[in-house]
Structures are given as C-alpha cells and as structure tokens.
Symmetry: C2
Subunit: 432 residues, 2 copies
C-alpha cells in the first residue's frame, strides 16, 4: 500500500519532458517548461541528464524574448537504434528506428496460417533482424534494445504470454526464446498496449490526461489513460474492451464467452453481421481479413445494400461499445485507431457521430470529444519502439515510464472456481 | 498537461497517514510508517501538522522494541462534528459524526414519492439538522462541515446536480440551496462516490491499490480505484457501470438507453426478470423496493420456483457485469456492496462464484479476489462524513484527498450531436 515517492514523480516528469521533445522535434527548455508545467530548474536538470546520456543533443540556438540566445534541444538519432517487432497472426514485421523514433527501415515475413510455436515466431524475427542489420552495418553494436509485440495477454514483467487463444498459448516464456533470436535486451508487450503507448506519446496524450484509445482490427480493444498514464491493471490485461458484453448470451466469441464486443465489432464480427443480413453474400468467402474489409467497403460504395446495412449495424454496435467506455470512465476524449479505420473509418465515424449522444449519459457526453484517426498500420511498431526506448532509459538509470508495470502475483487458489479468493473467511466475516 | 507536484505527493501521503490512523484507531508513528512505506521523517511531519490542527491527538505511550516509550496517536473526537446527509429517492437521512468518524446520532424524514424540488429536499435536510443540533447543544459552533449525497450526476466542484433522471433535475444548483439549510460549509457528491470513498478508507482500500467497488441498490454502479485513488473522470460521473450494456437493444433503462446493466441487476431489473418468468407473480405488485427484495428472498427460501429462477438469473447477469469490469480494468479485487447485499448477498455471492470464471479472461481472473460485504445501509453516510472531513482539512490547509477533483469545462459545442467535438479539423486531418 506504498505511497508514491518523489522518485516516481521525477520519473513521470522525465516522461513528460521526453514526450515534449519527441513530439515537437526541436524545443527550448522554456518551451518544455511551458508545455509540462514543470519548473525551469527541474527541466534544466532533466534535460541535462538526458544530454549527458546522449539521448538528447543541442541543436543550435534561437533568440529568446529578451533577445538573449537560448539553446534548442532535440532527440539524438546518433545515440543508437531500436528494433520494433510486430508479431501478428499472419506476419512478423520488424522495423528499425533511431533514437529520435524516425523509422529507418523495415523487413517483413509472412507466417503460415494456423497455430504457431514460440520457436517458429522467434525464427521469423531472427530472420528479419539479421536481414535488417546486414543492410545497416553502420549500426553494429549500436542497437539499444528491441520491443516485441505479441498477440494475447502478455505479461511484460515475467516475459510470458499468459493466454493467446488463437495460438493455444498458455504461459509461454517469451523473453527466454526471443533473447536468443535478437542480440539485444527484449521488452515484450501486446499490440493494445503498444498502440496506446504511441497515442500517449504522439497522439491524444499530448492534449488529454484522461482518455481512451479504441483499437479496431481483427480483434478489438482499448487503451485506458488515467491521469496521463496507461492503465495496465494487475497483470497487464486492462483494456480488454473487446471482451466485455454487448449482447448477453449472444454470438460466441474467440475468448469463450458469449456476446462480447469483439464478436460484433471485430472483423469476424462484421462478417457474422453480413451473414445475418445476407447468408449467401459472396464476400463471406473472402478469407483474408484486410481483403474482406476492403472489398466490403468497395461493395458499400457501389451500392450493395447488404454491405451498407452491415456497416451501419457495425457503427451501431461500435457506438454502443464506445458509449459503455464513456459512461464507465467519463474520459475527456476517445481516439479511435486501428487498421480497420484506414478502410472503414469515414463510414463508421459518421454512424458513431449520429448515435453517440443516445449511447452516453448527458454528463459524460457534454464534455467529450471523439476523434477517428486513419491508421497507417504502423502504430504498433511505433509504440513498441517507444517501449524499447523506455526500457533502455530504465537500464541506464533514467526511467521515463508511460505506465507503471507491477509484477503480477502467482495465480491464487483459495476457492473452487479459478481466480476466486475470499480473503477474510468469506461473506459473513465482513458484516459491517 | 501539468505533471504532478511534490505538493500533490504530500497530500496523497497525508491521506495515507490519516487513513491508517482512522482504520487502526490507535497507532504509533512507526506503525504508520510500516503501513504506508512513508519515511519516518515524513510521518513525523505529517502527524505533527495534524496534531497541531487538533485532528489527531496523543493517546498515551507504549514501549517500543528497544524498550523506549513511544507515543500513540488517534483521531481527536473533541475537535468537532461532521454532518453526513444521504438524500435518497424516498427519504432524507442525516447522521452526526465526530472527527474520529464515530457515529453520534441520526435523524431521518420520509420524502413523498414522486419528483422533488431542491427546495423540498433542502427543507427536509434543514429539519433533520435542526433536530440533531437541538439534541446536541454541546456541539454548538463545533460542526466543521456537511457532506451531502444526492442522487444523479453530481458535480462537486460546481455544486450542481447535472442530471437526476428520476427527479427530472438538470443543472440544479445544489450548494446555493443547501448552504441556506445547513449552517456549515457543504460538500456535495453522489452515493456511488460516497460508498467508494468509504471502501477506500475503511474497506478494500487498505489492502488493494487497484479495485472496483460494485454498488447494488435501487440503481447500480461502481467505484473504480486506480493507484489508490478514486477515479472521478472528467465530470465526476466515472463508474456508471449501471449504464453500460448488458443486452444491446434490450430492456429500456431509466437513463433512456436500452439494455443497461441496471435494467437487469437494479431492483426494477430484478422485478422485470421475475415478470418475464411469472407474469402474474404476486410480488410484482409490491411497490417499495426493500419490501420487494425482502419478500422475494423469503419466497426463494420458501421454495417459490419463480423467485428462485429470478435470483439465479440475476446472479448470471451480475456475474457477466462484474466480468466486464474485470476484463476491462484487470483489478486486483472487486468488493460488492450496497443495500441489496443485506438481503440477497449470500445467494448472489454463490451464483457469481459459480459463474465468474467463465465471464473473465484467464489472465485477470487468475489474480482476482471478489468479496461480498453485507451492507449495513450506512455506507453512504460514512463516505459523506469522510468527504466532509476531507473538505474541512482542505480548508485548513491540510488536504488529504482520496480522489482528485478537477473542474469540468462548460459543455462543448463544435458538432451537430451533443458532446461531439473533432478538435483538429476532422477525420482526414489526422492521417499519420
């Protein structure tokens, strides 16, 4: 039940300084102070430490208001490189970033459909990394770390994948396998946390301290930002909005529950909606998720009534799901991201805009903004590069966490149902 | 986008010190330090300030481990009294507490059924307060503040009730009306925040930093605790779990949406479930909520099959609703509170226990504990006494907030639908 320490505060302040520099590219200490509300003395100290470590560098001078020249600072791309790995269900992609978070290069390999072992995944990552480093001999010895996003419920502290239903992974030890494949320290996480971290550093996080980033993809989920920090929950699985109820006892979801948001708003959910409207629709046979969504949008534009109805209905489901987040969390803002927005963002945006006021209580709705961002599909790797940078900074003694990682305890027993514990002797013992 | 300051930290630390003293009644500084992980020097300073203000007092000495005597501290009941007001839909109740949060006395008046004006409510409160103060002439001049809980979406910063659907209140100015009725500074809030504050000070808050307190009553809702602080959201309406979806397009809810959790788990929801099972059931005619629940439980025990099915189904709905909270927030713990637990707690507990593992993802479920607490119906007034104490401490310069209150901005325009704002020129402008 420990209180926050002044060290925690200092780390949070360092995060705000770094985020300001990265988002604005070139800034003076006075601008950082104005943006973060940190005192000039604090900013001077924090910038000084980061310059000393080589993460920031001086970038010339400008005249200040009083006419005296003042120093500009920027991230230092020469400090080294970061690997960002996005392991999806059908591909492995590795991006190379410099420390200023500029993307230098990219390599990608397809994964065969079906279940994967961690060894296969690690082998694919190794292949991409070797190709990239071969193309960039100048970086030898200068790769500072790797951030690897894997599907499922990833525990970054223990370095395991707790649960990845589509691959039947349970408690798979990731870091052990991956650190053989990648010659640098590895930080693992899941795509939801990666996307939300990117949004916190480069998107809505610059304007809001309480917001939700909704990810629309094959699966769907949310990143919850409270008081400027990403909420991870007890075991890094906060944000599983895709596995909250939209229709109790409704469609079977991949997680084993019924009626989850993902079963209506995820790609297979959209397909199921189309099948309910037009059981014989030709697009139902398109196996690949992006192809399916892209062709559904083309059909919608071409006047296909079933495609139009399926999209409207998806917008209705999405509005209800977002309304749930708004009513429960009363955020300042909702960002809608994820690859589906590249194809269907405008249509879903319009429908959600029509419906959202009816789905929210008047109080939370009156102060809310919602923004759809057409994703470029690179949000996960950007977020993993940020997390790899955070891990590197922590190793050199300059933590700047966008979220607090707490070690999860071992699974607790104490009851007949998994996960049920009644600490003080059960119900009757706590009559007050 | 301001960072936390060392003053914020000091206030949070003061909260932890106070909570430890109130929960343990009589403690040494060393015990406070052990419980809070604050340094002995910090504890000495914070306790010293609170003693100087008269909120804490010395309470004798004990021998420490080294044999030297060490001072015990406790809350100082002589410092003054607090009024805690619970305005429900059918009654107004005022409790008198001393500063050690011991309940001294209580007065209650019924409210006539139907819509109320703020003037009627204020008149009832005035009546109860005058009776209480007449019975306690020794407290003249010593009442430090009042905490008043009102139904609906209360904004404590502006002192208004944003939305109370059952009374058709919109933007009702509470503090202005209530400060005439009560001769001391007034702090307003809603019952959900009051109950969660009580749980944070005296219940699960002592053991967990990430938890949810679920309130089962006429209406239902949740208090969300993140990092040891109550989440209030942008406009103090976080936690409206009762107005998240259980069945999309399902039963009409009092809030105007369809299929909300409250429409299945709140009292009228339970009644609707019974009506679906047995449309002619005699209990459907019992108007008063507590009578209805009490008689439903008696019928269940007596073997009434419809009552039994209605309770089982309510347990299923409750398990799904709690599963949603667990999957979205991945808390360490869920406390189930509220007056319904006094009557139906054991039965709902058993059914939730049977069902919860199926409603939660494996990760969050493996580290979760759930506890039902049979409520004594006094949780709201206890929580409001705590909030009145917090407000008093803030006025004397010793803030100890269990949550951060941020002023809500005025309702924003900027779009055709209420509450829709697209800050940067809309969708296309943010392609990244």
């Amino acid at each position: 039940m420990a209180a926050k320490s002044s060290k925690d505060i200092r780390n949070e302040s360092r995060f705000m300084v770094l985020r300001t520099v990265f988002a604005q590219h070139t800034v003076t200490r006075a601008q950082i102070s104005a943006e973060t509300a940190l005192s000039p003395a604090t900013v001077t100290t924090l910038v000084g430490e980061l310059v000393e470590e080589g993460v920031l560098r001086e970038a010339g001078q400008v005249s200040s208001q009083g006419g005296r020249p003042t120093t500009l600072f920027q991230a230092n791309p020469g400090r080294g490189a970061l690997l960002a790995v996005d392991v999806a269900e059908t591909y492995v992609r590795v991006d190379l970033f410099d420390v200023s978070l500029a993307r230098l290069d990219q390599e990608r390999m397809e994964l065969a459909p079906g279940a994967q072992t961690i060894e296969t995944v690690a082998e694919h990552i190794r292949g991409c990394v070797e190709t990239l480093l071969h193309r960039h001999p100048e970086l030898e010895g200068d790769v500072l770390g790797a951030g690897i996003s894997l599907p499922g419920q990833v525990d970054p502290v223990r370095g395991v994948d707790v649960f990845a239903p589509n691959w039947d992974w349970h408690e798979v030890p990731l870091c052990a396998a991956l650190e053989e494949a990648v010659p640098v320290p590895v930080r693992v996480d899941n795509p939801l946390m990666a996307l939300a971290t990117g949004e916190l550093w480069f998107g809505a996080g610059r304007r809001f301290r309480q917001f939700v980033s909704v990810n629309l993809g094959t699966g769907v989920g949310a990143g919850i930002i409270v008081d400027g920090q990403l909420l991870r929950g007890r075991g890094n699985s906060a944000g599983e909005w895709g596995h909250t109820t939209l229709i109790w006892n409704g469609r079977t979801c991949s997680c084993g529950r019924s009626g989850c948001v993902e079963a209506y708003v995820g790609v297979e959910g959209i397909r199921a909606t189309l099948a309910e409207i037009a059981p014989e629709h030709e697009l139902l046979e398109v196996p690949h998720h992006r192809d399916f969504i892209e062709r559904l949008m083309r059909a919608e534009v071409a006047g296909d009534a079933a495609a139009q109805r399926a999209l409207l209905r998806t917008g209705d489901y999405l509005a209800a799901g977002i309304g749930n987040l708004v009513n429960l969390l009363n955020p300042e803002h909702v960002s809608v991201l994820g690859w589906i927005t590249r194809y269907a963002g405008a249509e879903l945006h319009d429908r959600v805009r029509e419906r959202i006021a009816q789905e929210c209580l008047p109080g939370p709705s009156s102060t809310l903004s919602i923004e759809f961002t057409e994703a470029d599909g690179e949000g996960v790797s950007l977020g993993m590069a940020v997390l790899a940078l955070e891990a590197f900074l922590e190793r050199v003694g300059l933590p700047s966490p966008s979220s607090a990682l707490t070690p999860a305890p071992p699974a607790s027993g104490g009851g007949s149902a998994p996960g049920w514990a009644v600490p003080h002797g059960g119900l009757a013992a706590r009559r007050r």
